[in-house]
């Protein structure tokens, strides 16, 4: 791969990564969020693959394939199942036939209707967070300026946006998407900074993330059974009163 094409492809993948984070903030439809997350996972795998080909480290290609399968395939699949469980589920008996509407989906469950921070404000916040990431990443770039480390601010920006989604969204699934965005950002940072952490650590981290999402999936189901929905605003019984 020529150096020009390498830079171009790497930058493109980073751009897609960042764009997906922004779209996660922009979109309210939970199903779309999950799809965007899959695209982001693919972009992450692409970053790893491009780095692997450029540095001729074929082990990195295997890691890239693993990352791709997990983050563009398995995790979005789990989330989609968590979304799909909305209409069925043993804990949630179907309404009597007389009341069943032709629209099987409960709209309030499929969308982020009232985010804590409204979408326009959160987009502006994302802009500020990106600038912050750029400022914070300057010492990182200065340490070893290459095309890959120059893209480090992208990773940090995705981390910050993911954290913001986690704070500013009220739907359980949206929070999980925020968490995974955060995690994608960290993995991207690892790839860009040092071509990824050692394989054993990467394996452990991926396993942990998978388990965490599984746990959250189960908790979402329980939340529906206990609260009748996944609005995190309902979670306010435990407080210091």
């Amino acid at each position: 791969m020529t150096s020009g094409a390498y830079t171009q492809l790497l930058d493109l993948a980073c751009g897609v990564l960042l764009l997906c984070a922004v779209v996660v903030l922009w979109q309210r439809e939970l199903a779309v969020l999950v799809r965007v997350l899959a695209v982001q996972g693919a972009a992450l795998a692409a970053i790893a693959a491009v780095l692997g080909v450029h540095e001729r480290r074929w082990g990195l290609l295997v890691v890239a394939a693993g990352v791709g399968v997990l983050r563009a395939g398995v995790l979005p699949y789990l989330l989609r199942r968590a979304l799909g469980a909305r209409t069925g589920g043993a804990a949630d008996p179907p309404p009597p036939a007389a009341y069943r509407s032709p629209y099987r989906e409960d709209v309030s469950e499929a969308r982020e209707t009232r985010p804590v921070v409204n979408v326009a404000a959160s987009l502006v916040t994302a802009a500020l967070l990106t600038l912050l990431a750029y400022a914070a990443a300057r010492p990182l770039v200065a340490l070893h300026p290459t095309p890959a480390t120059r893209a480090l601010p992208v990773g940090l920006a995705v981390v910050l946006v993911g954290f913001f989604v986690l704070v500013a969204r009220r739907r359980a699934i949206a929070q999980v998407v925020g968490f995974l965005t955060l995690d994608n950002g960290i993995t991207a940072t690892a790839f860009l900074a040092a071509s990824g952490v050692p394989p054993i650590v990467e394996l452990g981290v991926s396993f942990d993330v998978l388990l965490a999402v599984l746990v959250l999936h189960v908790l979402t189901t329980r939340m529906r059974a206990a609260f009748g929905g996944t609005d995190l605003d309902d979670l306010r019984e435990l407080s210091d009163r």
């Binding site: 914070a136 010492p139 990182l140 200065a142 340490l143 070893h144 981390v159 954290f163 986690l166 359980a172 929070q175 968490f179 955060l182 995690d183 960290i186 940072t189 690892a190 900074a193 040092a194 952490v197 050692p198 054993i200 650590v201 452990g204 981290v205 396993f207 942990d208 388990l211 965490a212 746990v215 959250l216 189960v218 908790l219 329980r222 939340m223 059974a225 206990a226 609260f227 995190l232 979670l235 306010r236 019984e237 435990l238 210091d240 009163r241």
Partner: protein, 509 residues
Amino acid sequence: MTPTDSALLLTAPVAVPLAAAAAHAVAWRRAAASGGTAPGHRLTQWAGLLAPAAILVSAVVLAASVPSHGPVTAYGRLLRADGLSVWMLLVVGAVALLALAASPGYLAGERAAGHTDEAGAQRYHALVPAFLAAMCLALLAANLGVVWVAIEATTIVTAFLVGHRHTRTSVEAAWKYVVICSAGIALAFLGTVLVYYAARQAGVSEASALDWPTLAARADRLDPAVTRLGMALVVLGFGAKAGLVPLHAWLPDAHSQAPAPVSALMSGVLPAVSFTALLRFKVIADTALGTGYTRALLAAVALLTLCLSAALLLAQRDYKRMLAYSSMEHMSVIALGAAIGSPAVMSAALLHIAGHGLAKTVAFCSSGHILRLRGTTRIGRVRGLLAQSPALGAVFGLAVVALLGMPPFSLFASEVGIVRGGYAGGLGWAVSPALALVLLAFAALGYRTGRMVLGPPQPAGRPGDAPHALGAVAAAPLVAGLVACAALGTALGPLSDLLSAAAAITAGR
């Protein structure tokens, strides 16, 4: 020590609990398939003690050799036990032994009240050893990435223990716990990645760039700017798991919802394990950046946490949450000790971890008995505990007295050590307000516990008012914990070598 011995000693604390967890997981599957009606065996209940016993035995054997012969490694330096990890392993083993000894009584009570069945009990027995295994791995792994993986694994394993009851409050607590802890600790991983990047750029090879001994030895060559950013993220991230501000919000909820023995483990040792990882990074950062940066960071976090926990202790009406905030208070005292960082203060801080772990275990386990007795966690509804159940009242009262930092319990000695070292080390500006806040927390905790324990028995005619005897089986672990805590306070005995070795590691010299 032969390589086989060391491999055995380092594997046992992780492998034995894992094996126990696997055995119980199979039983859990079977019980769940049979609808949770199959009766449990007495044997399996007490077999749970095997795991903490294995941890404790390995720790004791290691404690005998490590201070004099230096660190032990196994599996090509993947696992490594130095003074710090052995000390923490001892604490984990002791606390886990107490907590698991209290478990059969707790589960029997839950089953009698209809809150759980055979499947639930087996799940409990499967998850708790897995939790122990993850903590031990976090302590024994030499690779900082693996340490992170193990600490995140504790979150995942304990999620279902926090949410074991399927009620609205427990689901809420479990959700907050998983989301806040996972996100917080993800920041720690980002910090780890940045340190790894700095190490790779400093010429450390890929295989050893996360290896703690290598990093600590070559920390002076790390890029200061990158390390500074990484360290801030690590303090935030591992601080989340240690109950330090700003990502502490999960702690009171999770501790108040988890089963009492699990609360004891989560409050007594889990924050300390996370804090140990933080200490390892501190050693690296102190060499790379000088001590000032981490000191300022830790002191600020500690003071903020102390402010918050003291304020919330003043207004607290729930005794399990009260104990949780007391954990935050003690973690911030420990963090303050780490900020001071001289060897004497570090040994005081490590002693504080041990004393707090023991006393908090007794307090949480006895709070479980109080909850079963009175059916409420409101402080206002519990009166005259001592009159109704002298043994329980006395144990709970003494545990809180220990947490208050009164002699003869070890927390007295360690707090005095931290404060004295702080003034000597020129951190008076941080220690003075901290002292005032600790006194405030002292007053709040003492006043509320006094109202619960002392006073006349409640008027007759209300449920759960009959005189109550704790019973020897239930009382034994509680008394043992108090005795151990008091013993640590009076004399360290053979442990003093280990403690000074551990303190020397964390003080970075």
